[in-house]
């Protein structure tokens, strides 16, 4: 019997199985429902973000007459635009703040995490298209394949196929191909539907299509792992019931147990400072100086002395520019350095925790796939850092511009209560235009996860190949 014939026979058997109809229909309806709902939410959120960003900017522009530094303290907000694929995989979005306040002297963290407003069920996992693709579709594969071989053995057809001269390898390959063709169809419909919905919303760019194709390819490999595992377990174990339980056990371990244990291990191994400690360390380093640097007062005095010497003046009041603004610029440059050190350290800790999770992915392909999916959707930590770094660069640029304007438009020591800046200054500040990174960035970030997924695929393929010898009736 040729491979194609086996595939055709398996496909026919699948279609005739009532289980397949129920499962495929349920899964299809669930995926379609989730996609449509998620796309609607995505569009509503994008519209709201645009509206709020415009309102915040209008408030900035119309501040009226103020001291320029007070205007700077009114601040701006940076809102991260969602990538089109975030409708399929919102990734970390529920746990990331929605807005970043940009103000002088201090770098802030994003605030208003949607997960804080969610019901307690959020702890079980959010029902999103990505959850369906990463967690539920493998269950669909298990439900279809747990007795693929064991049922043949139990009903005696394996003996018949063996006596008809069908090699075990060809039987397994046929079953694998039939299963994967069904799954690939569902995946294609889902990713295609997702991209079509994104296009309907006017946000399907070539970059998003490229990311979608890469994600779809990875998902196919991922489902291949589950299909191979399911067939191998079905071939190795004597009964369908045992096979089902072992596969369900593996699924529970992959989806719920390993990720949680990995997260707990990462948290214990790489602890994060408390918020209070984090901010007070920044304040301490700013006030007392970084190791080897003098304290704030000494730095200030040295800076003023240097200013007076450079301009040949005896009093700060005699200097031909706004001293407070120039002094502020020097202080803020130091504060930026201190903030960068502490924020970099915090990010380093986040990345170390992510490495622990990657190690945990050696015990669960789900973790590798989740990482890839989030990275392709641009809803992971790396993309968030890219955004926050861009916002920080913008924050510095805005404050430097306002302080420079202040220095240029005043002389000596101007009063902080004077209101000499107006809307012209606020309007002269460029708006924050964030350009998300391209597919290359996502690909680079996901390379280790791709490698892990590939290793899983090789392992599962080897197990499937090894199970051929278990196909003796």
């Amino acid at each position: 019997m040729r491979l194609f014939a086996v595939v055709r026979k398996e496909l026919r058997a699948l279609l005739r199985d009532g289980r397949f109809a129920v499962l495929a229909l349920s899964m299809g309806l669930l995926l379609a429902g989730l996609l449509v709902t998620s796309a609607q939410q995505h569009r509503r959120l994008a519209a709201e973000k645009a509206q709020v960003a415009a309102a915040v900017r209008a408030q900035w522009d119309a501040q009226g007459n103020k001291h320029p530094h007070r205007g700077a303290h009114f601040g701006l907000y940076a809102l991260r635009p969602d990538s089109p694929l975030a409708a399929i995989d919102p990734g970390l979005d529920p746990y990331l703040g929605q807005a970043l306040w940009l103000e002088p002297h201090r770098r802030n963290m994003t605030r208003f995490r949607p997960a804080a407003d969610e019901a307690p069920s959020v702890r079980f996992g959010q029902l999103t298209p990505a959850f369906a693709l990463v967690a539920l579709l493998p269950l669909f594969i298990i439900a279809l394949a747990f007795n693929a071989v064991s049922a043949e053995r139990e009903s005696g057809t394996l003996r018949m196929l063996h006596s008809a001269g069908l090699p075990g390898s060809r039987l397994l390959a046929g079953k694998f191909a039939a299963l994967m063709s069904v799954v690939a169809l569902m995946l294609l419909a889902c990713v295609g539907g997702g991209l079509a919905l994104a296009a309907a919303g006017g946000s399907a760019q070539p970059d998003a299509i490229g990311r979608g194709v890469l994600a779809a390819g990875s998902f196919l490999l991922y489902y291949g792992i589950f299909a191979a595992l399911a067939l191998a377990v079905s071939a190795w174990l004597p009964t369908s019931r045992l096979s089902l339980f072992v596969l369900l056990g593996l699924w529970i371990a992959f989806v719920f147990v390993v990720p949680r244990l990995g997260a707990a291990a990462a948290e214990r191994a790489v602890p994060l400072p408390t918020a209070e400690r984090f901010w007070s360390d920044i304040q301490r380093d700013y006030a007392q100086g970084l190791p080897g640097d003098p304290d704030l007062a000494t730095r200030g005095k040295a800076f003023e002395a240097e200013l007076l010497q450079r301009h040949g003046a005896k009093r700060l009041e005699d200097l031909p520019f706004g001293v407070a603004a120039v002094r502020r610029m020097a202080r803020d440059a130091y504060a930026d350095r201190v903030h960068a050190l502490h924020f970099d350290d915090l990010w380093r800790r986040h990345m170390l925790q992510a490495q622990w999770l990657r190690a945990a992915a050696a015990f669960s392909p789900v973790m590798a796939m989740r990482a890839i999916s989030m990275k392709m959707a641009g809803t992971d930590l790396m993309h968030q850092r890219h955004f926050e770094d861009a916002a920080e660069a913008y924050r510095r640029q805005v404050n430097a511009k306002i302080d420079q304007w202040d220095a240029d438009h005043t002389r000596g020591l101007a009063s902080f209560d004077d209101r000499y800046a107006d809307n012209d200054l606020w309007r002269s500040v460029d708006a924050f235009r964030y350009v998300p990174p391209g597919i290359g960035f996502a690909l680079k970030a996901a390379l280790p996860d791709f490698a892990l997924l590939l290793a899983w695929a090789l392992g599962a393929g080897w197990l499937l190949a090894a199970s051929v010898r278990k196909l003796q009736p």
Binding site: F124, F245, G249, A275
Partner: protein, 465 residues
């Protein structure tokens, strides 16, 4: 007559133990639940210790500020010292965890139960109140005991009871049971009951471990939790029993029960959330940003008027000599004015959360997993209604803090050393809402009873070989 059920129980227990798969399921369940219980218990212990340490740190801060205030200083310097203390060094207003904290600290980490009141606006600068966490770990979910139990207990019951009748039939053993026993339903009930006791026993032992590790755990919380787990267990056991009676193959019955688990864990809570969102919509956090800025700008524009109004309302605090006011004195009335607008806005989020929680609590019997998670939140003390009451108490405390400090700052007097002994303190009662948990237990129990009624009605099918 009484010896018969005992003999039956013994025989069923022997049969249960002889099935290796049952032992495997119980061992894995015990291992995972035990690990999660140990993790949660220790996390609860750490959480309580950190809360105590925070208060102790603040006490040091207070004593240091008191010592500085004892040294003579001019009015402006004393005012500035009082302002710095009032704006950044208030004691943490903590939401006290209740006796069931060992069920999970995850919600505490997510919501941030400490608030720092200030004479400025804590809503525009939540630096000290917000917690640092890695979103990646939060997304994966930490092994909070109540969450792990709600996820795994139904699956353990599935593993133990699946195929109890169907597989016996498929393997030709059920006709023997029918032939030898006058009431096969009794055998079935005993088998199901033993499985329930085994699963609940492991859950109870793990709960005891988690509570034992938490020094703040209470017997009342433990009792309520064990009752909730018993009702939860009874529901899933009854459902598993019902699936055993359906005319399905053992594999299909297992998949059907798994589908129920998926529905109860993910689909129904998601549907209820969506429904709750329509009934009790959550205001937009993004829109709140624009509203907050509006309040800030408005207060800044009328800063001078707010300052004059404040002194007009507090003539005793006006400085003796006429003077022009500068930061921070000129700013404080403005902060008070802007907070009068921002505070209700921010409270509206907690009000909406509390309303949604109450709404869900009346319907969560549709999803026992959600009901158990909500009961755990109640017992740990992080449920939305209690959080709202906490926020309201924090607001009252903030008013007291401001009433204490603002006149002393605005009058340029600052604080005397003995004033630091009279600082307003945050009092948070341990207001456990046990009744709500017991009501949920009762509801879940009733649903389990209804399912058991269905089993009783369908028990005739057991008499078929």
């Amino acid at each position: 007559m009484t010896a018969m059920p005992m003999r039956l129980a013994r025989a069923e227990w022997q049969r249960f133990l002889k099935q290796r798969l049952n032992l495997w399921v119980l061992a894995v369940f015990a291992l995972l639940l035990g690990a999660s219980a140990a993790w949660s218990g220790l996390a609860a212990r750490d959480y309580r210790a950190a809360a105590v340490a925070q208060q102790a740190d603040w006490e040091q801060l207070r004593l240091k500020a008191r010592a500085i205030a004892a040294q003579p200083a001019d009015g402006t310097k004393a005012m500035m010292a009082a302002f710095q203390f009032a704006r950044g060094d208030a004691p943490p207003a903590q939401l006290p965890a209740l006796g069931g904290l060992a069920l999970g600290t995850g919600a505490f980490e997510l919501l941030g139960p400490d608030a720092r009141v200030t004479v400025e606006s804590r809503h525009t600068d939540a630096r000290k109140a917000e917690r640092l966490g890695n979103p990646l770990l939060e997304d994966l979910g930490l092994p909070d005991f109540s969450t792990v139990l709600a996820l795994l207990l139904p699956l353990a019951i599935l593993g133990l009871s699946c195929g109890l009748v169907q597989e016996e039939r498929e393997q030709g053993r059920w006709p023997w049971v029918v032939a030898q026993c006058a009431r096969p339903a009794q055998v079935f009930a005993m088998a199901l009951g033993l499985r329930g006791i085994a699963a609940w026993g492991i859950a109870a032992a793990a709960s005891l471990l988690a509570f034992a590790l938490d020094p703040g755990a209470t017997a009342g919380a433990l009792f309520c939790w064990l009752a909730a787990v018993a009702a939860f267990c009874a529901f899933w056991l009854a459902l598993a029993g019902l699936f055993c009676l359906l005319p399905l193959s053992s594999g299909s019955a297992a998949l059907g029960l798994l589908a129920c688990w998926l529905l109860s864990t993910f689909a129904i809570p998601a549907a209820l959330d969506a429904w709750a969102d329509r009934q009790e919509p959550m205001p937009s956090r993004l829109a709140a940003i624009a509203a907050i800025r509006d309040a800030q700008q408005e207060a800044e524009v009328h800063m001078d008027a707010h300052l004059a109004d404040w002194y007009a309302a507090h003539p005793a605090a006006a400085p003796f000599a006429a003077r022009s006011h500068a930061w921070p004195v000129s700013f404080l009335p403005r902060y008070l004015a802007q907070d009068r607008r921002i505070r209700p806005l921010m409270e509206s989020f907690d009000e909406a959360r509390a309303r949604r929680f109450a709404w869900l609590e009346h319907r969560n019997w549709l999803s026992p997993n959600l009901a158990l998670a909500m009961a755990a939140d109640r017992l740990a003390g992080i449920d939305a209604p209690r959080y709202l009451r906490h926020v309201q108490r924090v607001n009252t405390y903030e008013d007291a803090w401001r009433d204490f400090f603002v006149p002393r700052i605005m009058s340029y007097q600052g604080l005397a050393a003995e004033d630091f002994d009279r600082l307003p303190r945050f009092e948070a009662p341990s207001d456990a809402s046990t009744w709500e948990v017991l009501r949920q237990v009762l509801l879940l129990g009733l649903v389990a009873l209804a399912l058991s009624g269905c089993i009783a009605l369908a028990r005739k099918s057991l008499e078929k070989p």
